[in-house]
């Protein structure tokens, strides 16, 4: 249990998927202008992450990794090289399903998110989380918690940036820095702030 909490805290604060691991920057920079859009996008990303991470884990563990096909008596086969294609295919398919569901059940949210919904597919964070759990050798429950908390971490970061950007509208930013430049510097400062969480650990050493 404690290792799950540890994973959650680490992914949200200490090793934030965006501020420390740099994943999910592209849509982050585009949408962080408006708190409502940021919230909507953040929740959508969190949902996709929480669902696709365990899904990809199942596929990786039972189909792709070295010796995974042992339940079909083909334990010698290693399909690890297919993981890029399979993961991204699962993510793309899932996002498509979410898009269709949103269009049917909540047209207003669908309209608000607009172009950003298909962009979730190419959000580095989603593929990144799937690739990370392979590297860190998490089990199913840990992967689920990892996906969920990475999403929450991303949501926190994008909300923070959106809020700061809105306040910055009233500041006198130098001409060359306006727009993208100041966004980066702000993100850098946020990243420094999150670094102060480093060193928190719940496990007994």
């Amino acid at each position: 249990m404690i290792d799950l909490i540890s994973i959650a805290l680490t992914s949200i604060f200490i090793s934030n998927i965006l501020l420390a691991n740099f994943l999910g920057m592209c849509s982050f920079l585009e949408c962080a202008k408006n708190i409502k859009t940021a919230m909507g996008l953040g929740l959508a990303v969190t949902f996709v992450l929480t669902m696709t991470a365990p899904l990809n884990w199942l596929i990786h563990n039972f189909l792709l990794s070295d010796g995974a096909l042992i339940w079909l008596n083909m334990g010698d086969i290693n399909l690890d090289f297919l993981k890029f294609m399979t993961f991204i295919a699962v993510i793309a398919a899932f996002v498509q399903v979410v898009e269709m569901a949103l269009e049917k059940f909540s047209p207003s949210l669908y309209a608000a998110l607009g172009i950003f919904l298909p962009l979730i597919t190419v959000n580095c964070a989603i593929l990144g989380v799937s690739l990370f759990f392979v590297e860190k050798e998490y089990d199913l429950l840990q992967t689920f918690v990892f996906g969920l908390s990475s999403g929450i971490g991303w949501l926190l970061a994008i909300l923070g940036l959106a809020a700061i950007t809105q306040k910055l509208k009233y500041s006198n930013v130098p001409k060359g820095l306006r727009g993208l430049g100041i966004t980066f510097i702000t993100t850098g400062l946020m990243s420094m702030a999150f670094m102060c969480f480093a060193g928190i650990s719940l496990t007994n050493k």
Binding site: S15, L82, T203, K205
Partner: protein, 248 residues
């Protein structure tokens, strides 16, 4: 011209693209597999040797494989055995292949590498610990008396460059050569281990403690604590029974 929007065409296009991509990828993977496996094996063997200062990052792959290759009589400079960590005895029932594939299946076992080359006799032990951002993986090289440390190396970690990642730098690793684990030589119940000291330099410690301490990394307290955990608790639990049996 073909109507690119017809469903039938879409299906054919999708199928053909999948087939082409799969053939390309599988072909590349199969033909490069031997090279990749060899790279991984040499990389692991290099890390084992680096702990005992028998190889460096620049040592050639051929030289590294000579240490591990078996000659006609079955002798190899580096002998790999699997031990039972609780009883401290060699476990013949687990094959090396099975263990390497899924080490998590055998929590009470560990690999031990024994260097048999004259003049370099030592034991190289796989070690794991907990760092700041993730697990630390490395090797510790001990003299056959189970007391004198020859060296340490870390091959996998997620620590911060310039801070915790300094554990892979020469200045940190070289400190471990010559340190001791036992308070009284030959008495394994007097195990002390090596502590990574923060806040005080080793040269300022009383002389009797200097052989059991190394300087820590400034700004990397958690990582230093993690390394101490390895060189005290982990070594004691996993390997001291084996050395105790060996040196009876």
């Amino acid at each position: 011209m073909v109507d690119v929007n017809k469903s039938g065409y879409t299906l054919i296009f999708a199928t053909i693209s999948c087939v082409i991509c799969s053939v390309l990828l599988s072909g590349a993977s199969v033909s490069l597999k031997d090279l990749q496996d060899k790279n991984k094996k040499i990389d692991k063997q290099r890390n084992v040797l680096m702990a005992a200062n028998l190889a460096t990052a620049e040592t050639s792959a051929e030289e590294i494989s000579t240490w591990f290759s078996k000659d006609d009589s079955g002798y190899s400079d580096i002998k790999t055995v699997i031990i039972d960590t609780e009883t401290g005895t060699i476990n013949d029932s687990i094959s090396l292949e099975a263990y390497t594939k899924k080490p998590k299946k055998f929590p009470e076992s560990s690999i031990v590498y024994e260097c048999l080359r004259k003049g370099n006799e030592c034991f190289i032990l796989p070690i794991t610990g907990v760092g700041l951002w993730g697990k630390l993986y490395g090797f510790l090289a001990l003299k056959p008396d189970g007391d004198n440390v020859l060296g340490i190396s870390f091959y996998k970690h997620q620590e911060t460059p310039g801070l915790g990642a300094e554990i892979t730098e020469d200045w940190f690793k070289s400190q471990f050569s010559g340190k001791k684990l036992l308070q009284t030589a030959g008495d394994f119940d007097s195990f002390r281990g090596v502590v990574v000291k923060k806040g005080i330099k080793v040269i300022d410690l009383p002389e009797k403690d200097q052989a059991y301490s190394v300087d820590g990394i400034s700004g990397a307290t958690i990582t230093s604590v993690g390394v101490t955990g390895i060189t005290t608790k982990y070594i004691k639990e996993k390997f001291i029974p084996y050395f105790k049996n060996k040196n009876k």
